[in-house]
């Protein structure tokens, strides 16, 4: 039986490989993701380990705030350095300043390096810097004293500078100029994922990054014979409460864990899209196998008459599935490895070159890829296999004996209906239920969506015929006989057409879903921002979300024509055991731009903000039972405790909320957050509103802050949305993969249909159909199938988006249809249909008429 199955596959090589291709793409993405992230991980891990080669112990600050959600970097007092160096177990110790905000600016005023990766800035004692494995000077020397810097080779090349030239660096204040005295590289790698590096001496860095008297960490080297653990034990009694000391191995693990948690997010994001592609691929496999099983009814029945049991038939079809799955996985892994190489080359091309020591092929990559490929295909082939077992032996002799099963078709109807209900219930729970973890919610929603897609696919068999009639109408009207026949062909086996279209439906539904949702978000962002504040100009970081120097507002306030400059500081604080966002503003000017919507208190309350007053949002107050006068204890990222007091409650929208759950006065904020870069937005009111003259003056005042931009309110809102567009484009590309898979499904179905209708095509050609007409017939059928996909996918996507919008109604997300995008999707679908038809149409037109008619 096994051999028969394999022989069968071999005799249908082209069809088999087309079928296999449906999972190849998904698997290649799985394998590619693992290879890429493993490789990057390994490279970073090696780099991080080598950077601490000679160090024995590391002293650093602790932060209670996770995920780097604070600008308040953990630091230790510089005074600790001397005390640590004099420990009996310490041979030497040196302080390090390290930040991610040392953006270099080239002579033209453009930032050096791409926007995504960090602009690393270091402060190092020139005496100690060569000692560890981190930095190597390639040319020149280390920076000594103010006004000197050593920068990485790659950045020097990008900025067209070399030793002796000047480069400007934006630290936590205005731009400052430095003379380049050395070119360096990190470890043995000449790239760090596109990050730029500028190394100063310690005092210069402390000044530049606003870390006076503080260090990011202290690296300690043990005396000979002193173990790192013993050294750490000696250090511990000296530590202030918010500092920690780790042995070098522990520290390396921690360095790596930060990176790898980031890598994990990327990995899961990519795997999600791979999962979608595989889901669509499963549909295609299911469909193709169903068709080939139907075409082999007679063969199966003959096997039954000569003694094959149902189980053997089942085994035969499953073997086919298994083989296709294994084949696809192996090819997929190969393609995935190429994909990973291609992706990292692409990232290199846009400046985020990944450090690659050597490509990592973990056994896990292969196991997961193969298991996934095989399991997905097996699951997809289960349906066709079960159907094959129901082929009665009598079908070997009687053409019409094929499964006239009214009862089971009604059963199918009921089952599809039940599935639809279940999927909606699961979706509802996922969207509206309460969950402890958002990952559980996401998984529930994903499961609901998957079930929903399957249910719609099953049900679409019932409306495929009328749909084909409608979407096939234009082709039928203008395509002549070929168009008419195409429409009839598409309606011939509605179940087949429906499930072919279903694969496309899934991709289109998801594309529609994200596009509708994104449009809703974009609209809502504008509404939410306008609702909360109004200004003539808004100043924000170039990327729209980073915080920038607190000096900006003061500088702009002095620009002639500016009436008020209101800065919103933001950071993270811990209240009631949870990280929440805290805002600082000047209570005297805040109400000139921010439109308070008081639930308790009034604009007069602002005067009471003082040193320990806090305005809280309505939802936060409600959650924790706060009202005017309630004490509000909070904890800073470094562990310091503050006792605030609620003086007012303000109502806020929950999307793009401009103020954090807690708002304090600017003074109080600055008193506790040491980083001078905590401003998120600055609102400007000018005399006489927007004017080109004021704008020019503002821009020139901001020339020394190149990471900051000034925008009109409208532009600022657009900028927020353009971030959404980048994200959307990425989603489209990744979902496009699933669409490609479903196009393969159409190719499969059509190729099988052409095969099945060989005689009929031969007859049509014999009675005068031209090749061109034959091609057109197939093409129209393909377009009809695609349009059925669009006609189901787009409404399904809109429906899902509507559900999600409803679930997010408390965020005031509007439901808005991106009509032009939807039209574009439909047109793209037609093009996809035409592409899918190329190969089958050629087959149909090249048919040898004589052979086709003789064919049995």
């Amino acid at each position: 039986m096994l051999r028969i199955a394999l022989r069968g596959l071999w005799s249908r090589k082209l069809r088999t490989s087309l079928t296999a291709f449906a999972v190849v793409l998904g698997i290649s993405m799985v394998a590619g993701t693992y290879v890429l992230t493993d490789t990057i991980n390994k490279s970073f891990n090696t780099l991080m380990a080598s950077a601490r080669a000679d160090t024995s112990a590391v002293v650093s600050g602790k932060s209670l705030v996770k995920n780097g959600a604070t600008s308040d970097q953990p630091t230790v007092p510089a005074s600790l350095l001397a005390r640590v160096s004099s420990l009996p177990g310490a041979a030497s110790a040196y302080g390090v300043v390290e930040t991610e905000s040392a953006r270099m600016i080239d002579a033209k005023g453009d930032p050096v390096g791409p926007a995504g990766p960090p602009a690393l800035g270091f402060g190092r004692d020139p005496a100690s810097i060569g000692r560890d494995g981190a930095f190597k000077i390639i040319d020149g020397r280390w920076a000594k004293g103010p006004g000197e810097v050593a920068i990485d080779v790659a950045s020097a090349k990008k900025a067209h500078v070399s030793i002796g030239d000047t480069i400007r660096v934006e630290g936590s204040g205005p731009l400052q100029s430095f003379r380049i005295v050395g070119l360096l590289q990190w470890g043995s790698s000449n790239s760090l994922g596109g990050a730029t590096m500028a190394v100063f001496d310690l005092p210069t860095a402390q000044r530049l990054f606003g870390l006076g008297g503080r260090l990011s960490e202290i690296d300690v080297i043990a005396k000979d014979g002193v173990s790192p653990a013993r050294l750490v034990a000696q250090i511990k009694p000296l530590l202030p409460p918010n500092a920690k000391a780790l042995t070098v191995d522990e520290q390396i693990k921690e360095d790596q864990s930060q990176w790898s948690s980031f890598a994990k997010i990327i990995r899961y994001a990519l795997l999600t899209f791979a999962g979608i592609a595989l889901f669509v691929g499963a549909f295609v496999i299911f469909n193709t196998l169903s068709i080939t099983v139907a075409q082999r009814t007679r063969e199966m029945a003959t096997l039954r008459t000569i003694g094959a049991s149902r189980r053997q038939i089942l085994g035969g079809v499953l073997t086919e599935g298994l083989t296709i799955g294994a084949l696809a996985s192996v090819i997929g892994i190969g393609v995935g490895i190429l994909l990973a190489a291609g992706l990292s080359a692409l990232m290199g091309a846009i400046g985020i070159d990944v450090p690659r020591t050597a490509t990592v092929y973990a056994p896990r990559t292969f196991v997961i890829s193969i298991v996934t490929g095989v399991v997905v295909t097996l699951l997809a082939s289960l349906g066709p296999a079960l159907r094959a077992t129901r082929v009665p032996p009598i079908a070997a002799v009687r053409e019409g004996a094929v499964l006239a099963r009214r009862r089971s078709s009604r059963l199918r109807q009921i089952a599809s209906g039940l599935l639809l209900a279940t999927s909606l219930a699961v979706l509802g729970v996922g969207l509206f239920g309460s969950f402890d973890q958002s990952s559980q919610r996401l998984l529930t929603i994903a499961a609901g969506c998957a079930l929903f897609f399957i249910a719609v696919a099953l049900l679409s068999a019932y409306f495929a015929r009328p749909l084909a009639r409608i979407v096939g109408a234009p082709g039928s009207t203008f395509g002549g006989t070929a168009g008419k026949l195409a429409r009839e062909n598409a309606m011939r086996v509605p179940a087949r057409t429906a499930s072919t279209a279903a694969a496309l439906m899934i991709g289109l539904a998801l594309v529609t879903f994200v596009s509708v949702l994104a449009q809703g978000f974009v609209r809502s962002i504008g509404v939410a921002i306008r609702k909360q504040a109004s200004a003539d100009y808004i100043v924000m970081a170039n990327d729209g979300y980073s915080t920038y120097s607190n000096a900006v507002a003061g500088r702009l306030a002095r620009v002639p024509g500016v009436e008020k400059a209101v800065a919103l500081r933001t950071d993270t604080v811990i209240a009631f055991g949870k990280q929440i966002s805290i805002t600082g503003f000047d209570p005297k000017t805040a109400s000139s731009v921010y439109k308070f919507d008081w639930q308790e208190g009034s604009n007069a309350s602002l005067a009471k903000l003082g040193g320990d007053g806090a305005i809280v949002t309505d939802s936060f107050a409600h959650k924790h039972g706060l009202g005017i006068g309630s004490p509000l204890p909070v904890q800073m990222p470094d562990g310091r405790k503050l006792r605030l007091r609620v003086i007012a409650v303000n109502k806020q929208p929950e999307l793009i909320e401009l103020l954090g759950e807690v708002t304090v006065s600017e003074k109080a904020f600055d008193a506790v957050y040491r980083n001078p870069k905590t401003t998120l937005l600055t609102y400007l009111r000018t005399t006489g509103g927007e004017s080109e003259a004021v704008a020019a003056r503002l821009r020139s005042a901001l020339a020394v802050f190149p990471s900051v931009q000034v925008l009109t309110e409208k532009k600022a809102i657009d900028t927020q949305s353009s971030g959404m567009n980048t994200l959307l484009a990425m989603f489209y590309v990744l979902l496009g993969l699933s669409v490609v898979v479903s196009v393969f499904g159409i190719v499969n179905t059509l190729a099988l249909a052409v095969f099945e209708r060989t005689r009929e095509l031969g007859m049509l050609r014999a009675i005068g159909m031209t090749r061109r007409q034959a091609r057109r017939m197939i093409r129209h059928e393909s377009i009809t199938i695609s349009l059925i996909g669009a006609a189901t996918g787009i409404p399904v996507g809109i429906f899902l988006a509507a559900m999600v919008t409803t679930a997010l109604s408390r965020y005031d997300i509007v439901f808005s249809l991106p009509v032009s995008s939807l039209v574009a999707f439909t047109l793209a679908t037609v093009v996809a249909g035409m592409l899918a038809a190329i190969l089958p149409a050629r087959r149909a037109s090249r048919l040898n008429v004589l052979e086709a008619l003789q064919y049995e």
Binding site: I4, T302, T305, I306, G307, A308, R310, A396, R398
Partner: protein, 258 residues
């Protein structure tokens, strides 16, 4: 011939009372209500072991229906069928499959060979499916009998219709079934090739003691059949033992006239 029969007796695939298939009061009704068709009415028949029983009759008289029911491919509306002493109308699918492996062979009008397998593979397929080892001597004997030894490595598409049917005959014989059913095995062949296939079936009855039930429109069957049954409107209307083509023609015309 006597040696072959004793071999068969030893394997136990022939009932001792000499009846391979025993059917009583078979009725088969298609459809329901007004559109109901009684394809078969109260047909009883015994197929003696080692005989070639031919079934003839006009189109639509229920020949195929009878054949399918006797072979267990279809269930009668009422009545019973025993193959090798086992009542088959009540068997479930698994038991029927087991029965088929051991007791039933088929020859089809359209050959029904698997296109991706060679002639040899097609022939041994029933054994392979049943997980039984091929007896090389028996294989050679069967292949020799159907004159296909030179074409064993060919695929069905590379064989003529007659050759394909020979392969199909070999496939049916290879498992030494208690009874072999053939529904118009020559229906898709030209007259000369059809004659050869009839001769081949006759030979397998003569020399191997194979029991055969065959539906055919070919009057030449008269010379090889041990018995010819005539069906008309779902009932056995005539039975001729050891007959001649002329008698058959006459019988057919007679039935057709009714």
């Amino acid at each position: 011939m006597s040696i072959d029969v004793s071999k068969k007796l030893a394997t136990g695939s022939v009932t001792r009372d000499g009846v391979a298939v025993h059917a009583t009061d078979l009725c088969r009704c298609y459809g329901e209500g007004d559109t109901a068709v009684n394809a078969l009415c109260d047909v009883s028949i015994d197929v003696p072991t080692g005989h070639l029983t031919a079934v003839m009759g006009p189109s639509g008289s229920g020949k195929s229906t009878l054949m399918h029911i006797l072979a267990g491919l279809d269930k009668p509306t009422s009545g019973s069928v025993e193959i090798d002493g086992t009542e088959i109308t009540t068997l479930d699918d698994t038991a029927l499959t087991k029965l088929r492996r051991k007791h039933v062979g088929f020859i089809f009008q359209f050959f029904n060979l698997l296109p991706m397998l060679t002639a040899r593979e097609n022939i041994v397929l029933p054994l392979e499916i049943a997980g039984v080892k091929v007896d090389p001597d028996w294989f050679d004997e069967v292949v020799g009998k159907v004159h296909i030894s030179k074409r064993l490595t060919h695929r069905p598409a590379q064989l003529s219709g007659g050759q394909q049917q020979r392969v199909a005959v070999a496939r049916a014989l290879i498992s030494r079934p208690t009874v072999l059913f053939a529904d118009e095995p020559t229906g898709n062949l030209d007259s000369k090739t059809g004659g050869e296939i009839l001769e081949l079936l006759h030979d397998s009855v003569e020399t191997l003691g194979q029991t055969i039930v065959m539906v055919t429109h070919d009057a030449r069957v008269a010379t090889i059949a041990d018995r010819v049954l005539f069906l008309g409107d779902g009932a056995i209307v005539k039975e001729l033992p050891e007959t001649t083509p002329e008698e058959i023609q006459k019988a057919i015309q007679e039935i057709g006239r009714r």
